[in-house]
């Protein structure tokens, strides 16, 4: 329907991709969700995707509001169930591109089982899972990703549970594309989201974003700069990690050993559910 131009400015990007009636967003100052939306729009623009053929699906939570801001078909579903709806959309009409926005609570907590099985089936979709270590929309309760000792309104004495590594789960289930990025580095996530959208099969992009309102301040990270600094100190690029583990000194290796690896953790090919189903129908159809 619309003619896609390659926007050069943020204003042009806004005019082409955003649903003006939904502005302003509900996001707090310092929230990383706006950045994630930005990166996604740049990626779409880079690929020159026809927005009429994209469906944005989300569950419930702050990150799940992202689907409503994009001027495309969208489905804001029930808590944790976005991937079920997305699977139905994609299976029924494989011509549509499906992009899911979800959070750590929505996607890995209440929706954990759906995540597991959607990856297992290798549904062709791009899942941008925004991880802020907390249930933000309900005011800061502990999530399946909250670090040990993390403070939240439901772990007032510190979290005793082990957090889950969402990318490790996706890797174990052989998702063909898995990447993790922090929101303070704009260019790699844009490229990575574009790769995920172009990938046939399940692509998971975990974005670590700050929630200054419900997590940061309570955990000694006042202001968004403090959280960005925390990312710098606690994450390591996958390439750097591998290089240091091979060539670095023992001291250097010791320093990065426990850091969270960011980067493209896997990029491979695997036939999707839709492709396999189409082949089956080809074989058995009357």
């Amino acid at each position: 329907m619309s003619t896609l131009l390659k926007p050069k400015t943020a204003a042009e990007l806004r005019d082409v991709y955003l649903r003006q009636e939904m502005m302003p967003t509900i996001f707090c100052d310092g929230c990383g969700l706006g950045n994630v939306l930005n990166y996604t729009l740049w990626a779409l623009d880079e690929l020159q995707v026809d927005l009429d053929q994209v469906v944005f699906v989300s569950g419930i939570g702050c990150s799940s509001r992202l689907s409503g801001y994009v001027n495309a078909d969208g489905m804001h579903t029930t808590h944790g169930r976005a991937l079920s709806f997305a699977s139905g959309i994609k299976a029924a009409n494989p011509n549509l591109k499906v992009i899911v926005f979800t959070g750590d609570g929505d996607g890995a907590g209440i929706g954990g089982n759906h995540l597991l099985h959607t990856i297992r089936r290798n549904m062709d979709m791009t899942v941008i899972l925004v991880n802020n270590y907390i249930y933000g929309m309900t005011g800061g309760q502990s999530a399946p990703t909250t670090p040990i000792g993390g403070l939240s309104t439901t772990t007032p004495y510190g979290n005793v549970e082990y957090p889950m590594d969402i990318c490790a789960l996706a890797l174990a289930l052989e998702a063909p594309y898995v990447a993790r990025w922090t929101v303070n580095q704009p260019y790699p996530p844009i490229k990575s989201i574009a790769q995920g959208i172009a990938k046939r099969g399940f692509a998971l992009i975990e974005m670590l974003v700050p929630c200054p309102t419900a997590y940061g301040g309570r955990n000694g990270l006042k202001g968004v700069e403090a959280i960005w600094q925390w990312y710098r100190e606690n994450t390591v690029l996958l390439d750097d990690f591998e290089h240091i583990m091979e060539f670095g000194t023992l001291e250097e290796q010791e320093e990065i050993k426990h850091k969270l690896k960011v980067g493209v953790l896997r990029d491979t090919e695997r036939e999707s559910f839709e492709e396999r189903w189409a082949k089956l129908v080809e074989q058995v159809k009357l």
Binding site: E21, Q53, M75, T78, L83, S84, S87, G88, A92
Partner: protein
């Protein structure tokens, strides 16, 4: 989908098959091209049959990780324009409530078959019951109306599945088709209707005139549909939304208007939705009000009782929800007592009592445990009722 292909996939015109299979056949004839489900006794055969049939006609079958996901997938697929169905039994139906409510709120056509078994909880998986009649009505949270049909034979399981799809498309709302474990696994002769005997209804589509407002309606109270991918960039949310589909969850006015319309679009069309069957309506002192498999035994007993001089009539409910309270009220004006046999501890007796409003006696005859009522116990209940009236 290719109609000739569908007909070929179903095989012989006359068959001897189970209720579960008849539902699957009905779905295919109605144009169902997407099924998502999860195995559960005694509904598994519906899914199995769909997994056989759908690939033959180019449709899609997907086994989900649970019933929550099945219901979600149904809604997603329906928004691409697909005709969708799932099947389950009590425990699975409990899990579907969340996304069933979403389907109601987002006006998504889909059909849910529940082959009921007894509960609470796991209960008696292989035995029939009618324990979910009220869960069907009020299982999902919030104010809403629901459409539900209850067949009493294998042929009717096929016929009413088609009706369920038609109502679902016409009113853009989930429709429930409820049988039970007994009927689901029972076999009878099934005659597959010819193409010219089928009346299929499709959801009202957007005609392309002017700006598309996905939740604006005319006098029908049913909005027009444009599938995902058609360029209209529709936003669908379970939040209270305006005609454009955008969230307006803090507006009392918009919420009131939306939720009342969702109820009215069903309630204002009760005459098109409600189906029932009457026997000896003009010539009876006692009525049996019944539904589902129990109605078959009741039908035999009505004749037995009348031959013994007890003037009994029978009202068989086919549409359970919306409840035909006008019809029940009319019966209550003509009889002295109403017997309500149910395969539960009393569910439909409540709306029956409400509709009767004290005009006549309402007597329960409840049976649980998995066995259907025997003719003798129903006849005995009628005789006792007759004695009390004398």
């Amino acid at each position: 989908m290719d109609r000739a292909l569908i007909r070929r996939a179903l095989g012989d015109k006359v068959q001897f098959i189970q209720g579960d299979d008849a539902c699957a056949y009905g779905a295919l004839l109605a144009g169902c091209n997407f099924f998502a489900g999860y195995p559960i006794t005694p509904a598994t055969e519906v899914a199995e049959q769909m997994s056989i049939l759908l690939p033959l006609v180019g449709g899609c079958y997907i086994q989900m990780e649970d019933e929550i996901a099945s219901m979600g997938a149904l809604v997603g697929a329906s928004w691409t324009g697909a005709k969708t169905m799932t099947s389950t039994s009590g425990p699975g139906f409990s899990l579907m409530q969340e996304n069933l409510g979403y389907a109601i709120m987002t006006e998504t056509p889909c059909v849910v078959v529940n082959v009921q078994r007894s509960g609470p909880s796991t209960g008696q998986p292989t035995m029939g019951a009618y324990g979910d009649m009220m869960q069907a009505r009020w299982g999902t949270h919030g104010d809403h109306e629901i459409i539900m049909l209850c067949p009493a034979s294998i042929q009717e399981s096929l016929d009413l599945t088609i009706v369920a799809f038609n109502l679902s498309e016409q009113f853009r709302t989930p429709v429930l088709l409820f049988i039970d474990g007994e009927l689901g696994h029972m076999r009878e002769r099934l005659v597959i209707p010819d193409e010219d005997e089928l009346e299929l209804v499709e959801r009202p589509m957007f005609n392309g005139q002017g700006k598309y407002l996905p939740f604006a309606t005319d006098a029908s109270l049913v909005p027009t549909f444009a599938p995902f991918g058609s360029g209209h960039r529709t936003y669908v949310t379970g939040l209270t939304h305006n005609e454009q589909g955008l969230p307006r969850s803090s507006s009392a006015e918009i919420h009131d208007k939306l939720v009342r319309r969702l109820a009215d679009k069903i309630n204002n069309h009760r005459d098109q939705i409600i189906r029932y069957e009457e026997f000896y309506a003009d010539d009876c002192d006692i009525a049996i009000i019944t539904y589902g498999i129990t109605a078959r035994t009741c039908r035999d007993v009505v004749e037995q009782a009348r031959s013994k001089g007890i003037k009994v009539g029978m009202l068989r409910l086919i549409t359970i929800w919306p409840f035909p309270d006008d019809t029940v009220a009319r019966w209550s004006e003509c009889v002295q007592a109403i017997l309500v046999p149910e395969m539960n501890l009393g569910q439909m007796i409540h709306p029956i009592r409400e509709a009767v409003a004290g005009r006549c006696k309402v007597a329960p005859l409840f049976r649980i445990g998995g066995e259907i009522h025997t003719p003798v116990e129903i006849l005995t209940a009628l005789e006792e009722l007759q004695c009390q009236l004398c």
